[in-house]
Symmetry: C2
Subunit: 143 residues, 2 copies
DNA sequence: TATTGTTATACTCTATAACTATA
DNA sequence: TATAGTTATAGAGTATAACAATA
């Protein structure tokens, strides 16, 4: 398929979309990185620190510090692993679950407001395109 | 239009897309913030520091430091404004222009590889949806 | 010896407050 | 007095290297 200008217009559009999400995401006082961790934990349950670092593509010390900061804020909790005494299980607290829910609602609302400005055809394209791209990323990443 | 689940599936897809772009964008050793500045300067020409800070939604000191770091790396250049001696004009260097071009090509290639995995209908949807969303953001931001 | 996690250190990116120089 | 920019300081988020504890 011809993407026109080597897809550079699409890259520019995507960059703008990224900036938009970042601005919306910041509302609620949670960074992209913290948000990503909290979302993963509330979606997949408690996990090992090493596993979280690998999943986020971040170093182990970086994840240690992120968990420490978020534990200080009462959003996650460390539990010692029962079977391997070296290990640590990180889980989300009730406050963390609450925050995830509130942020998800905020973001969905912002995206809906954006989509509401589009023509019906464009709206349909968005509903098709976004999940399709997400699936493609998943397929490419696991390959 | 019904977005299904209050658009939360779309938000999740968008988050994944954001993560993907961030990873691709990092290749080349330039952060999102630095990349944004370099792109703006090479797109719109030399600008005042205050103007750049406002355009990126960032504080004036943050932009001062960003420009200082990038000047140290030879990507941008400060010039004293002729008409207002308080002012500073920030412009991109030849090395900066080169880097912008290389990164744009890399990103376009990554996005094309992703799109190539999609069905023709989905590909068409992406080409429609991304620019449409970018336009909506522009319209909303300037409103 | 290998793995899990932490600590030490350093860099980028961000903010607010205080300051200098020009208008 | 107001505006443009910088400096001072602090915090989040990141990395690599060195370390402790467990396997």
């Amino acid at each position: 398929m011809d993407l026109g200008g080597s897809g550079e217009e699409l890259v520019a559009a995507l960059a703008q979309l990224v900036r938009f999400v970042r601005q919306v995401s910041t509302a609620g006082g949670l960074s992209t990185a913290a948000s990503s961790l909290l979302n993963r934990l509330s979606r997949e349950g408690p996990q090992r620190l090493t596993e979280l670092a690998r999943a986020d593509g971040v170093s182990q010390p970086a994840m240690t510090q992120m968990v420490t900061r978020m534990e200080r804020e009462g959003l996650v909790r460390r539990t010692s692993s029962t079977d391997d005494r070296r290990g640590v299980l990180v889980g989300v607290t009730d406050a963390g679950v609450d925050l995830v829910g509130r942020r998800r609602a905020e973001q969905a609302e912002a995206l809906q407001a954006l989509i509401a400005r589009l023509d019906p055809d464009e709206q349909k394209a968005v509903v098709t395109a976004l999940p399709a791209l997400a699936r493609a990323i998943e397929a490419q990443t696991s390959a």
